[in-house]
């Protein structure tokens, strides 16, 4: 009787192990004609799932749109597979390995939207010939394509964003000379992400003469009382809210309300500038500013077309179609645009119209990304992205943001044009940092 229980569970265990082993052998996919395969390391559960479902949903919707509307790129269908990373480095690395090959197809672009995962695969992308895109996060010095040939920080890195935010603040104050003596508080998540803009902020504090108050918040950041009391005591003029996760960001807004700190003097990083971040704060969030690399809204022709074509046919990826046009979804769509443009460019450059691209060709295609105003209009995203181009040495491209403000119901752009960072200063810092990395890792930068 005791033995029976054990035998049963033993047999069950053996069966489970056998099934597991069988499923882990990657199934051979039939190469159905011409396909370009993408691996999508999404996170759809956990503390950041709200953003993840929006972003990755946007990418998938755009790929679906290209397939449906144009039959793919020159007849090459976009195909993809997902893998849940839970925003976790180990899971992300496993997803990377699992998604890398699908039968005969290999993925050549990897966008985890997660700093720990990007770092986890940074050392592998060179050998595997995979473009790591780091869309708006990750290593700022990856903008130097000579040291990081396979890593990109399209289209605006953290350093550029910090510089752009300060440029905008200075215009609100009446000029750079008026910044002298002001107090800017950098309220940030106490992590590498939060400290990333510090080199830029500290340098500008020195150059412009304002006082930088660095205020870290321990994760997960749902308790910020002590930090805001300090802000009150220091009488900060502006607060840059560099947080991640709806809990931390909405708490920042609420805590500001508690000490009657004007929300109009807060500027959030783009991870603190989505609908999910401000909704829980309710009315307290009115007037709050944030930087955006892609503004929200459904006024763009492409967005409306995707809604009509993809969601009209019931193939939309978002479970709640009301999220079309939200910040994360729009950002995802533009990520999809980068990928497809890379494929188009790659096919043109390598003379492989209508065929699959390999890693080197995909990278060439990505580096040839050139979104001119005319092209933006063609794609139907005028105003959604700035006009920029990448190159072998410049893996960032734009270095600009839009400043948006929450009015209680939606985000509105307050800068009709894009706010730029100090390109020269940032590029200088990028090259210095990349050179240091190359020296430490004994990499010879390539010639461009």
């Amino acid at each position: 009787m005791f033995d029976d229980g054990i035998s049963r569970s033993l047999r069950g265990l053996v069966a489970a192990v056998a099934v597991a082993a069988a499923t882990l052998v990657p199934a051979l996919a039939q190469a159905q004609g011409k396909e370009q395969y993408f691996g999508i390391p999404s996170y759809r559960v956990g503390p950041f799932a709200a953003g993840g479902t929006g972003f990755f949903g946007g990418i998938i919707d755009y790929l679906q749109y290209v397939n449906m509307k144009e039959g793919g790129v020159n007849g090459v269908q976009m195909v993809w597979a997902e893998c849940e990373t839970e925003y976790n480095a180990a899971r992300g690395v496993e997803c990377y390995q699992r998604l890398l090959k699908k039968g005969d197809l290999q993925m050549h672009i990897f966008e985890p939207l997660a700093t720990p995962i990007a770092y986890g695969v940074l050392n592998r992308v060179d050998d595997d010939k995979v473009v790591l895109t780091q869309y708006g996060y990750g290593r700022s010095d990856a903008a130097d394509g000579r040291v990081f040939p396979w890593v990109f920080s399209t289209m605006t890195s953290y350093w550029s964003q910090a510089s752009a935010i300060l440029n905008w603040i200075s215009t609100k104050e009446g000029g750079v000379d008026k910044m002298k003596g002001k107090k800017i508080a950098h309220l940030h998540l106490d992590s590498a992400f939060g400290r990333e803009p510090l080199p830029v902020l500290r340098r500008l504090a020195k150059d412009w003469g304002f006082e930088l108050i660095e205020i870290p918040v321990a994760a997960p950041g749902i308790e910020q009382q002590a930090q805001w009391l300090r802000i009150r005591q220091e009488r900060a003029d502006w607060v840059i809210s560099w947080g991640f996760g709806a809990g931390m960001n909405s708490t920042a807004i609420n805590s500001a309300a508690r000490i009657n700190f004007p929300r109009e003097k807060m500027v959030g990083v783009w991870w603190a500038g989505s609908e999910e971040d401000v909704l829980p704060a309710g009315d307290a969030a009115k007037g709050y500013f944030a930087a955006a690399n892609v503004p929200s809204g459904k006024q763009f022709p492409l967005v409306q077309d995707i809604e009509k074509v993809v969601y009209g046919a019931g193939k939309g990826n978002l479970s709640d179609p009301k999220r079309i046009g939200n910040i994360y979804w729009n950002r995802g769509v533009t990520a999809g645009i980068f990928w497809v443009e890379a494929v188009r460019n790659g096919q043109r450059i390598a003379n492989k119209r209508g065929q699959m691209l390999n890693g080197d060709e995909m990278r060439l295609g990505f580096e040839a990304l050139n979104l001119t105003p005319a092209r933006l209009k063609e794609l139907g995203i005028e105003g959604m992205l700035p006009s920029f181009k990448l190159s072998c040495a410049d893996h960032e491209g734009a270095g600009v943001v839009k400043i948006i403000q929450w009015d209680g119901a939606k985000w509105n752009s307050v800068t009709p044009d894009w706010v730029s960072s100090d390109r020269k200063m940032i590029r200088e810092m990028v090259e210095e940092s990349a050179a240091k990395y190359a020296a430490e890792q004994k990499i010879t930068p390539r010639k461009c």
Binding site: D190, A218, G221, R230, S250, N254, A257
Partner: protein, 300 residues
């Protein structure tokens, strides 16, 4: 702003934060007291409760209907946990039970996200998260209205529970079960029903904590992490004392905020992540079972 006034503000804010931690810790204490299980899933239960409440309101139920429905749901969850997780694991080592509750955390988190989705939601209790006007005008102290409301609610809850435990028949049964399961069984106390009841009450406490935290920070996944804030409170107060939870909560909240404001800048800030735990260790070195915990008598 005057130094002393600022200190006072930090202190009061800290005390009120501590009350919020104590609310979460209360659920832990209830379950540990009655069944000897350290329920790690309490954080997930707080999340699930708040999410269900907001979910029901979104489905159209008004506030006064959604509340009892969610209470019922949490009670049902409690009964289910007792039946399917605890009963088969009766008499196992406490580590096994702890691990089972951690497994339960995954189940509840997954269930919450499956049923209600992953979007962030707003919880409006009708009380503004703004400084109390007359206090601000008269003393210059900014104390949020929600914090004060939470303190009152917590006080009422603790007082009620303390009364229930000491005065009512059910409370006596609960204390008997906490003391010795076998002895309680032998005098006819229905063990399984008591456990189900305790887990249901803990679920309701989780709902209250979830609603208050949700009103402050929004109802989203990060609510699960409030459990980590409650652990130092539990250690300092002792796992088995209901009034101890409030006292410990006040201590932890105040100490944490004061440390962050006054000591934090000297070492670079962000010390809130570990300071309560180090404080707890210091308390434990003096009183290994917490301030009000039962002394564990070990026989050799």
């Amino acid at each position: 702003m005057a130094g002393f006034q600022f200190f006072l503000e930090v202190l009061v804010t800290g005390l009120l934060s501590g009350v919020m931690y104590a609310l979460v810790a209360l659920g832990f204490v209830l379950i540990y007291k009655a069944s000897g299980v350290f329920n790690f899933a309490q954080g997930a239960m707080v999340f699930f409760a708040a999410l269900s409440f907001v979910g029901f309101m979104e489905l159209g139920a008004p506030f006064w209907l959604a509340l009892p429905i969610t209470v019922g749901l949490m009670a049902l969850l409690g009964v289910g946990i007792e039946r399917f997780v605890l009963r088969p694991l009766v008499n196992q080592h406490e580590i096994t039970l702890l691990m089972a509750t951690i497994g339960l955390t995954f189940v509840i988190e997954g269930l919450a996200q499956l049923v209600w989705g992953v979007e962030v939601r707003r919880l409006d209790l009708g009380i503004k998260d703004q400084p109390l006007p007359w206090l601000a005008d008269n003393t210059g102290l900014f104390i949020s209205q929600i914090d004060i409301f939470a303190a009152v609610v917590a006080g009422v809850l603790v007082a009620t529970l303390a009364l229930v435990f000491s005065r009512t028949k059910i409370g006596r049964a609960l204390r008997a079960v906490a003391d010795d399961h076998a002895a309680a069984l032998s005098i006819g106390i229905p063990l399984k029903r008591i456990w189900a009841l305790v887990w249901a009450i803990a679920g309701v406490v989780a709902l209250v904590a979830g609603m208050l935290w949700g009103a402050r920070s929004g109802v989203q996944f990060a609510l699960v992490f409030v459990a980590l804030k409650a652990l130092p409170v539990l250690i300092i107060g002792g796992f088995t004392s209901v009034p101890g939870v409030i006292v410990a909560g006040l201590i932890v909240g105040a100490a944490e905020k004061l440390a962050e404001v006054y000591i934090g800048p000297m070492v670079g800030g962000g010390i809130e992540s570990w300071f309560p735990y180090v404080l707890a260790i210091l308390f434990l070195l003096v009183r290994p079972e917490g301030l009000f915990g039962e002394k564990i008598i070990r026989r050799v």
